[in-house]
């Protein structure tokens, strides 16, 4: 276990270093200059030069990379070119929206998908299965931004059950905050739930075909008991993989949804930062997202070992 952990950790670090390279140099070749963006069309060239030097943009790429990277190691992500606040703090603020949203959506999707998948698997080939699978097919096919538009139209504008968007902030109390995240969470969760339910079902069906399920049935367990006691935990590995992937996706991929619901999340931060050429913000956020994905995968791998004893001993 320790060795497994250490080896994964090592490859994780190498991945992160390579990722930082890729991110920095790819982003730096984007045309457009943060200083001219800031100063607009009436700015004079010397003003732009003054701002560039104030922002440290006149240094060489490589030395900027080094200072960015070493800064990151110490938890200092630099200062945003446009906002002029520490990137770390901006990101932290945004995470207070994005992270709860991702967790909320993931919880919703898991709560919907797992029962649906289990139900479908246990009724394989019957009407219930076909209905659930039909619904998931539809869920996979619906673009989530379109779905979000429809949700706003129905629940915010017509029924006025929810506000059309925005985030009241955690100061307003956890319930109010969750309430304001509900529509976006649903918009994110349903398509994900559709995928997850399909994975759950097929993983379960694969497991149900295994010999040990037959053994369990020969002991006198009913189909359902066999599914719950022996099928579920074994089916968890593919499901966990997908949940891990989805979490990373939700963290970074909510850009469009954040736009539709004007949430001050990470996605919108990158989006704004890209258009303002606030490169350091883009770099840091992308780096952070990559880091999050790699970490989540790492954690998922570790939970595999919790689920499956065969992986514990393995080197």
């Amino acid at each position: 276990m320790g060795r497994y952990f250490a080896k994964r950790l090592l490859s994780l670090i190498v991945s992160l270093v390579i990722a930082s390279w890729v991110i920095f140099f790819v982003i730096e070749i984007a045309p457009g200059d943060p200083a001219s963006f800031m100063l607009g069309i009436n700015a004079q060239p010397d003003t732009i030069a003054a701002l560039r030097s104030e922002l440290g943009l006149d240094e060489g790429k490589f030395s900027r990379y080094i200072s960015w990277f070493t800064g990151m190691l110490q938890g200092d992500f630099g200062t945003s070119y446009t906002y002029r606040t520490p990137v770390a703090q901006m990101v932290a603020d945004r995470l207070w929206v994005s992270l709860p949203l991702a967790i909320y959506a993931l919880t919703l999707s898991t709560l919907i998908a797992l029962p649906a998948g289990i139900y479908a698997a246990s009724r394989r080939g019957k009407t219930g299965d076909i209905a659930v699978m039909g619904a998931t097919q539809l869920g996979v096919a619906v673009p989530n931004f379109w779905f979000a538009m429809m949700l706003v139209l129905v629940f915010a504008i017509n029924l006025r059950w929810f506000s059309a968007g925005g985030f009241v902030g955690w100061e307003a109390g956890p319930l109010a905050a969750l309430h304001s995240l509900t529509l976006p969470a649903i918009a994110l969760a349903l398509p994900q739930a559709a995928i997850l339910a399909r994975v759950m079902r097929s993983a379960l069906l694969d497991i149900l075909g295994e010999d040990f399920i037959r053994t369990a049935r020969a002991k006198g367990l009913s189909q359902r008991q066999a599914l719950w006691r022996h099928g579920l935990r074994n089916a968890l590995i593919p499901v966990l993989t997908i949940i891990g992937l989805q979490f990373s996706f939700l963290l970074a991929g909510a850009i469009i949804i954040e736009q539709v619901f004007y949430l001050p999340g990470l996605g919108r931060l990158v989006f704004q930062a890209i258009s303002a050429r606030d490169l350091i913000v883009v770099e840091s956020v992308v780096m952070l997202l990559v880091f999050a994905v790699i970490m989540v995968n790492f954690l998922v791998d570790l939970t595999y070992a919790l689920v499956d004893p065969r992986l514990r001993g393995r080197g």
Binding site: G2, D211, T215, K219
Partner: protein, 537 residues
């Protein structure tokens, strides 16, 4: 009244009839063996008793267990019955256990489910059971996971689960096919003891007639979903009537008329010489910066094979036989030692074209050794790859026809795909592929292990014929002692990567020297002679 009474049971899956009018019965304390070739419906019969059949099956007829009409039971009632009244042991111990639960939990489950006793009590009971099946507490605590056990040990756990509630009937479907001969002997003994101790009835399903003859009180022979013959073991072995039964027994004890090894003007250079071969597989390190670990699959093996000689290699599963084969074929590098073919060492990068011409191979799995997307002509000419003088055009057609003819197939078969052939035919094609370059040496790695007895007998006969017509030399690898005894002049015994004994086949089998060889031979079940006599008659 019998413990298990099946009369006129028919079963079909969808529109396909699988079982047709099966009748059999088992008394308490009696062992009934069901035998027959692959696909004859043995497993289906067993599953029908538990009503654990695939979807869309229809069952007709009568099936009663201890007076209960099984077919009339609801699913809930069946659940109560399974495990309680009837236990089952499956073929594949490696997959029959839930990998994520401890063996203790899995054994206890049967008890908790039916008896609803406190956990502690179930735990105690499970412990006793595991002790009973030969898994003592000090080495096998309840907290072990299945992957920490060997195949035989896992099979013991499965048996413990099946007998937990002392069911009246125990069904064992090929319980030892996946195990070594020595382990097989132990498991069979255990089963027999349990039946005797608990007075259970048992249905054992096996295609190994030697096991049948050894274990069973009663025998049922099945073919294509029908019972062709049934009777007490003694009686049946002596008086088998049905031609199929006779054929089956004849094939099992089939003796091949191997032509004598070509009179040897002993060639100075051995055809194949293996010198001190070592093959290590890397194993994951125990600690991150610990020394690199490895597993020695072939451990300083040396032997020679002369022209015209037929050499056997026996040993338990995992002892390194296939690894050695792959090394000889140049598919895997050696860590040390060398292999010489006709005096020239094999290059590290694989075999040269002329070496490949001299040496060919036939693998075990007739279903997996061919690319399903190619036609037979393309498949069997594959060994010509990279040879400068590979036949072209008409010449090629002729050589294909000749090879197919040699293995008893017709030249028309060259245009067919592999899925259009039966397992036995496929193995013939595999042999044709090996023959087509006119090799001097063929390696047979478990070449007949996957075949049914009757098909196996045909293939062995074919090999014997080819020995006559082609003057073959071969290395015959198998875990089946009787086959090796039949097919070879000289024999090597391998254990944990090492050759422990070597000698003329007859001598080695009649007077084994090494204790391992002795235990191997002792464990192998033997078909009593009566069957053999009857079959001849």
């Amino acid at each position: 009244m019998s413990l298990l009474e099946i009369t006129n049971l028919s079963l079909s899956i969808g529109a396909y009839p699988i079982l047709r009018g099966i009748s059999l019965s088992v008394e308490p304390g009696e062992i009934l063996a069901i035998t027959g070739e692959s696909g004859s419906g043995k497993s289906m019969t067993a599953l029908a008793i538990l009503r654990l059949l695939p979807n869309c099956t229809t069952l007709r007829g009568h099936l009663s267990l201890d007076g209960t009409d099984i077919l009339a039971q609801s699913e809930t009632e069946m659940c109560a019955l399974r495990g309680q009244k009837v236990g089952m042991v499956f073929q594949e111990p490696m997959t029959a256990l839930n990998p994520v639960q401890t063996i203790g939990d899995q054994v206890m489950e049967t008890i908790l489910l039916h008896r609803g006793c406190p956990r502690a009590e179930a735990e105690k009971e499970a412990r006793t059971l595991l002790d009973r099946v030969g898994l003592p507490a000090d080495r096998f605590p309840l907290s072990r996971f299945p992957h920490e056990l060997s195949g035989g040990q896992r099979q013991r756990v499965v048996i413990a689960m099946a007998i937990a509630l002392r069911p009246a009937l125990l069904i064992a479907d090929e319980p030892t096919t996946a195990l070594d001969v020595t382990t097989q002997a132990q498991i069979l003994t255990l089963l027999r003891d349990l039946v005797r101790d608990y007075g259970m009835g048992m249905v054992i399903i096996t295609h190994d007639l030697a096991v049948v003859a050894d274990m069973a009180d009663h025998i049922v022979v099945m073919r294509k979903g029908e019972v062709v013959e049934t009777g007490s073991t003694q009686w049946l072995l002596a008086n088998m009537h049905h031609p199929y039964t006779q054929k089956l027994f004849a094939a099992s004890s089939h003796k091949v008329a191997l032509p004598p090894a070509s009179a040897t003007p002993p060639h100075p250079v051995p055809l194949l010489e293996v010198r001190d071969a070592v093959r290590d597989y890397p194993v994951a390190r125990k600690r991150l910066f610990g020394p690199a670990q490895h597993m020695r699959a072939v451990d300083h093996v040396s032997f020679t094979l002369h022209r015209g000689e037929r050499l056997g290699l026996v040993g338990e599963s995992g002892c390194g036989k296939s690894t050695l084969t792959r090394a000889i074929l140049g598919l895997e590098p050696l860590q040390s030692g060398e292999i010489l073919l006709d005096g020239t060492p094999l290059a590290r990068t694989g075999l040269a074209a002329d070496q490949r011409r001299k040496m060919q191979v036939v693998f075990q799995d007739p279903f997996g050794s061919f690319n399903p997307r190619h036609r037979v002509d393309r498949l069997i000419t594959e060994p010509f790859h990279g040879m400068a003088d590979a036949p072209k055009g008409q010449d090629r057609v002729e050589q294909i026809a000749e090879a197919l003819h040699a293995v008893g197939l017709s030249p028309e078969d060259a245009g067919r795909y592999i899925h259009q052939f039966s397992g036995g035919q496929r193995q013939r094609i595999a042999i044709a592929r090996a023959l087509i370059t006119r090799p001097e040496l063929i390696l047979f790695d478990e070449a007949v292990s996957a075949l049914d007895v009757s098909v196996r007998a045909q293939i062995l006969d074919l090999l014997a014929d080819l020995c006559g017509s082609y003057g073959l030399s071969y290395l015959f690898i198998s875990h089946d002692l009787s086959v090796v005894r039949n097919m070879t002049d000289r024999c090597l015994v391998m254990r944990r990567g090492q050759i422990v004994e070597e000698g003329r086949t007859e001598a080695l089998f009649s007077t084994p020297q090494h204790p391992y060889t002795q235990s191997l031979i002792a464990a192998a079940p033997v078909l009593p002679n009566i069957g053999h006599e009857a079959a001849r008659g």
